[in-house]
Structures are given as C-alpha cells and as structure tokens.
C-alpha cells in the first residue's frame, strides 16, 4: 500500500481546498517571483504566510521528518554555496529562507489541488495563447504531477536494490550516479509509454473539453487577501 506523501494530494481537509485552482496557481506564481525580489521583512512575511498555509493542511509528522531531511540537506548546501560566494551569513541565510519558502508554497499547491484541477487551470491560462496546444501541455503537466510520488517510490526501490548489492563499496561517484539514474529513467519511460497507450485505449485525444467552475465570492476574497499580502511584502 502506497503512503500519502507530502508531494501529493492529501485527503486532509484544508481551507485551500475549496479555492479555485486558477487563483491558487496565479498566487503561487506571483509569490514565487516575489520571494526572489522582496527585501528581508517582505521575505519574512511571505515565509510566515507559506508556513501557516502549509501547516493548515496538517501534514503528517512522519513524512515531514522524512522529506524534511532532504530539504534540510539542500538548504545546508545552498547556505554554503551562497556563503562561499558572498561571504555573508545573513545573505546566505536569506537564500536558504527563499528556498524553503518556495518549497513550502509548492507543497501547499500540490497537497491541496488534484492534478486534474491543476490541469484545468493550466489549460485555462494557456488557451488564449496562439501556436500551442493547451490541452496537450495541460495533460502532460497533470501526468507529471501524478508521476512525482511514483518517481520517488521507484527511486527508493532502486536505492534499496543498489544497497543490497553493496553500492557503498563503489568509490566512483559517477558510477554511483549512473546506477541510480539509468534504471530510474528507463522505468519512467516505460511507465509513461504504458500510460500513454492506456489513455489512447480509453479514447483520449488532444481535443479535450474542460469544465471549469465559475469563480465564487470566496475566490475573489481570497485573491484580494493574497494580493494585499503580496503588496505588503513589497512595501516592507
């Protein structure tokens, strides 16, 4: 039985769940840009917002620890990389904060929005653009979101298989990498191929209809609050 992951739609009710995916998506984009533009206190505000939203989804402690480890390691790497370049503790800490906030916001979207909803939102944004097939891109994005947990599960299995064949004794880091990446890629490609066939067998074509709900008062209110906070973070 697969466990529900942080990088995955969570069954726990959350205030963000009832929000229209288009609003969530636009705010996420806006905030992601702002994270890298605003000054210190603006960033602190955005981090606070991201943290509150993230914990309002009641993430499971077990997965928090499990995934937190990886994020922590990346954070430390980013710290030293920035510190090496800028020789300034505060700047280095801020770039870690930027990274963590980005991850938190991403997880807020993924854990409260079904991939189908993300697909619809992407379609809605891309539809007015000429020369691209909005439905094809939207479907690919949906499938990518669905693949993420699978990918992690597969990587975990491959890691175990490597450990049981004593990969630790291998000194060559290049070989260490390839023995993970090549099986991972081939399994992803194989899975994607079968999925594509299975979709075609169920009459999937590029011409797809999407039914999006109308925006409600709640959506507009949320958008206004979100924009207000964004404005505040710029002024701070």
């Amino acid at each position: 039985m697969a466990e529900i992951d942080l990088f995955h739609y969570s069954p726990v009710p959350s205030p963000l769940k009832n929000l229209d995916p288009r609003i969530k998506f636009s705010l996420l984009l806006l905030y992601t840009v702002l994270i890298y533009q605003v000054h210190t206190w603006g960033l602190v505000l955005l981090t606070a917002i991201a943290t509150i939203l993230f914990f309002s989804g009641k993430p499971s402690l077990k997965h928090l620890l499990f995934r937190g480890k990886g994020i922590l390691i990346l954070g430390i790497l980013i710290y030293f990389a920035t510190y090496g370049a800028e020789k300034n503790t505060i700047t280095a800490l801020l770039s870690v904060l930027r990274f963590v906030t980005t991850v938190l916001l991403g997880m807020c979207l993924i854990s409260t929005t079904l991939p189908e909803e993300i697909e619809k939102a992407v379609y809605w944004f891309l539809k007015p653009l000429p020369f691209i097939s909005a439905s094809v891109i939207a479907t690919r994005i949906r499938l990518t979101f669905m693949f993420i947990p699978d990918l992690m599960e597969t990587a975990e299995k491959i890691k175990e298989a490597r450990i049981s064949r004593c990969i630790q004794r291998e000194r060559n880091p290049f070989k260490k990498m390839t023995t993970l990446i090549i099986p991972l890629l081939s399994s992803v490609i194989e899975r994607a191929e079968v999925t594509a066939f299975a979709m075609e067998a169920r009459c999937y074509t590029d011409k797809k209809h999407y039914t999006l709900k109308h925006l409600t008062l709640k959506d507009y209110a949320a958008a206004a609050v979100g924009l207000g906070a964004a404005g505040l973070s710029i002024l701070l």
Binding site: M1, A2, I4, H8, Y9, P11, L114, P115, E116, L143, M146, P149, R191, V194, T195, F197, A198, M199, E200, A201, R202, C203, Y204, T205, K208, H209, T211
Partner: protein
C-alpha cells in the same frame, strides 16, 4: 461451453497479421483467428511469444506491417474511436493505467473523453464501480488501493465505456490467492453478462477451466487454436505448466483442476 461457429459473423477478425520491430524482432508472424460474440478466449504462450504485441493490434494501438483487424466486418481504422469504446483493454501493469488521483475520477476518464454529459458520466462511473465492488472507495486515492483493487479499478475504467469485448493482459500477475479469486470472479461475472472475454495469460492453471477456447502462441505465431480439452496436451511443449501428468491422466480431468475458484 460453446465453440465459436465460424459460419456466424465474427465479432473480431484478425487476418494475416505481421509485425516486426526495429532491430529485427519479428513479434508477430502471419497471425489469423476469429473471435465470436460471447466467447471466452484464452491466449497463452511463454514470455516473449508476442501476446502483448498482438493485443495492442486489436484496438489499433500498434499498426501492423501486414494484415488487418476487422471489427464486425469493418477494418478497425475506419472508426478507431468507436472501436476503442467497443474493445476495452486492461494492461499488464495496472498501476500505469491509472491516470487520475481518485477512484471515481479515474473511472470517469474514458466517458469524459467521449464527451458524455456529466449526469451520464456519474451514472456510468457508479455502475462500473458497483460492478467491480469498489463503489465504497469512489473517493479514495488511487495510490492507496491494493494490487487486486487496482486491477479491478482498471476493469471498471473499461466498463464505464460500455465495451463489448474486454481484453485482459496477464490479469493475475502479482496477485495473491484472494486477489486472483476476486479478479477471476469479476471476469466470469462479465462473461455471464454477455461480454466477450479475451484473457491473455501464461497462468493457465488459474483460469482455463472456464474458457471456451484456447490459443497457444510461440515465437510470434499461433501454434494451436481449439477447445481447451483438445490442446491441453500440447501446452507443456510450449513452455506452459499444467497441473497434472498429461501422459497418464485424461486431459479433461486435468482441466477440472484448472481454476483457482475451486
């Protein structure tokens, strides 16, 4: 049990199908057979004999190098979307077949593609899930299902399109004893309801007792095509294990053992 009478019109006609892959693998060599309405056909053969490649030709996922497939007398590529509705496929790896996050949405995926209205979509989804016994899990996350449940979900996704023919590729692989029983019961139920069943498997001991007919494949060709009792004797020479000693026991006695529902 009935054996398809070749004089009545065939539901599906496979005519001189050949297929090679780049690199020189001849996956299918001049394969021909007919499938009659309401038949329960088992296709067997060892690993790499071409079963899955054959199946992908039956609803046009692969294009043959030579030959053709006819559905009710018309080449399938004339109206491929209609054919794909009529010929449902459950793939070898059922978790790759799941395209949605929740059970209900996954079943609705096919009807959605057919642009059926929402009310009818819901009706079909509920009916299909009821048929496979998963209605109580309609809102569950697809990733949390067991192997047997995933396979039944894949079947429900097909049922929601109202198919005539249901093709299942290795429907018993990776399942435990109760899992096999569940899926087998499901298949028999669908056959009884009038669906034509094509079950592709090398695990003959699980299902053959219920089949009307058996096709054995080897190296991309059909080597036998007859009622199970008549060709059981040849199965071991094509790498398929059967539960008994075919030299000492009558085939029908062995056939009696070939069901995991017994």
């Amino acid at each position: 049990m009935h054996f398809f009478n070749q004089k009545t019109m065939a539901l599906l006609e496979v005519v001189h199908l050949s297929k090679s892959f780049p690199g020189g693998t001849e996956a299918l060599k001049d394969v021909s057979f007919l499938v009659g309405e309401g038949e329960f056909l088992v296709i067997s053969g060892k690993n790499g004999s071409g079963k899955s490649v054959l199946m992908r030709h039956l609803n046009g996922l692969y294009k043959p190098d030579e030959g053709k497939v006819l559905y009710r007398g018309t080449p399938i590529f004339k109206d491929i979307l209609m054919v794909r509705q009529k010929i449902g496929m459950v793939f070898q790896n059922s978790s790759s077949q799941i395209v949605s996050q929740t059970v209900g949405k996954d079943v609705a995926f096919g009807p959605e593609n057919l642009h059926i209205n929402a009310v009818e979509q819901n009706k079909r989804t509920n009916k299909a899930l009821e048929d496979v016994g998963l209605l109580d899990k309609i809102d569950h996350n697809t990733r949390t299902l067991s192997g047997g449940e995933k396979r039944r979900l894949a079947i429900a996704g097909i049922l929601a399109m109202n198919p005539e023919i249901i093709i299942l590729d290795e429907p018993f692989s990776n399942l435990d004893f109760p899992g096999v029983q569940q899926v087998l019961r499901q298949i028999l139920f669908l056959h009884k309801k009038g669906h034509t069943i094509i079950c592709i498997t090398h695990e003959l001991d699980k299902v053959l007792y219920h089949a009307d007919r058996l096709i054995l494949m080897d190296k991309g060709s059909i080597v036998c095509d007859n009622i199970p009792g008549k060709i059981l004797i040849k199965a071991p020479q094509y790498g398929i294990r059967i539960p008994g000693n075919i030299e000492k026991e009558p085939p029908l006695l062995i056939l009696e053992r070939m069901s995991w529902l017994k």
